[in-house]
Every structure is written in structure tokens, then in C-alpha cells.
Symmetry: C2
Subunit: 102 residues, 2 copies
């Protein structure tokens, strides 16, 4: 499997972010071709030392890294990427990698 991990930094308006994410972004993102599993953090994102500066962590699972590249190139993936710019006011880090259980 391969994952697209997205870390959304603390936005300027958390309530507006949460509303947009739930009502608009999730329905758009769920249309991305090849998406096998979609998981999001619930509640605060902490660190062992306390606050993290990250508001939301999302993990989208695909069959492999090529499927993620194809997803980004698709109209649905481009729509999801464009939507991120509308609510991720704190900035966002994205990571793409293949995974294995140990």
C-alpha cells in the first residue's frame, strides 16, 4: 500500500476550517480515483511534549505510489488539491510513501 499523509497546520479560523473540511473537502476527496481508505484525526493533535501546531492529520491510502501520482493527475485529484487552497489557511505538509507492516 501507499499513503498520502497530510498535516494541516493550525488555521486562522479553526471553526471555519472544520466546517469546510467536513462539508466540502471530504465529499470532494472521496471522489479521488484509486482511494482505498481515508482516515482523519479526531480532536487535538498532540506531541509527547504538548501542543503540536498541527490542527488535522489525514491519511489517504492507495494501492501504490503510482496510484497516488495518477490520483493527483486526475480531474478529481486536481479538484481536491484546488479545494485545499480554500481552507488550509495555516499551510499544509504532504508526504507520499509506500508502507509495510513490521
Amino acid at each position: 500500500m501507499a499513503k498520502l499523509l497530510v498535516l494541516y497546520k493550525t488555521p486562522t479560523d479553526a471553526a471555519a476550517f472544520d466546517k469546510h473540511y467536513a462539508e466540502t473537502h471530504i465529499p470532494i476527496a472521496k471522489k479521488i480515483p484509486g482511494l482505498r481508505h481515508y482516515e482523519i484525526s479526531r480532536g487535538p493533535v498532540g506531541t509527547p511534549a504538548g501542543l503540536s501546531g498541527v490542527h488535522l492529520v489525514t491519511t489517504l491510502t492507495f494501492d501504490n505510489a503510482a496510484a497516488i501520482q495518477a490520483a493527483f493527475a486526475s480531474p478529481e485529484g486536481q479538484a481536491a488539491a484546488a479545494d485545499v487552497g480554500k481552507f488550509a489557511t495555516g499551510g499544509v505538509d504532504m508526504f507520499i510513501f509506500e508502507t509495510a507492516a513490521v
Copy 2:
């Protein structure tokens, strides 16, 4: 479920990092009480734009956030945390959060 997400930044010696992680850290981390699933990235960690500066992403899954706090407080968790300091020469970011599928 709850996750401990660990992002290891690019180390000074990637081969030494990989050897220590595989041969020493995984056996230590697998002893952490309450650990339900343990997944690591394989190969490069990219971004939509290219290189990420992250060498390894690991995700440890527990029943809930309280189980992660208990794991950190356990002797096995403290041994794993102490071991991180021996090989994570590029630094490390850790995030703790509860998750839900959407």
C-alpha cells in the same frame, strides 16, 4: 483507534540509520505495551513537488490516546524513546491523535 505518527528527518548517515532502525529500534519498539499495529514507510518519502526532507515515516496504532500516554510512561516505551536519540540524527517530529475513518 489512536496513532503515534513519527517523522524522521533526513539523517546524517542514512545507511547507519536504516541499519539501527531495522536491527535495534524495531525489536525495542515492538515490545511497547498496547501496540496494536506498527507500520513504516518503505523507500523514499516524497511530496507532490519532489523531495520531502523526511527519511522515514512510522505509524504506531493503539486503542486510544490514553493507551499511548501509558505506553510512553512504561519501561518499554521509555527504552524506545531513549533509543530514538541514538539514531535520529536529523531530528524527529512526533504527533499523537485519535483517528476515524471517513
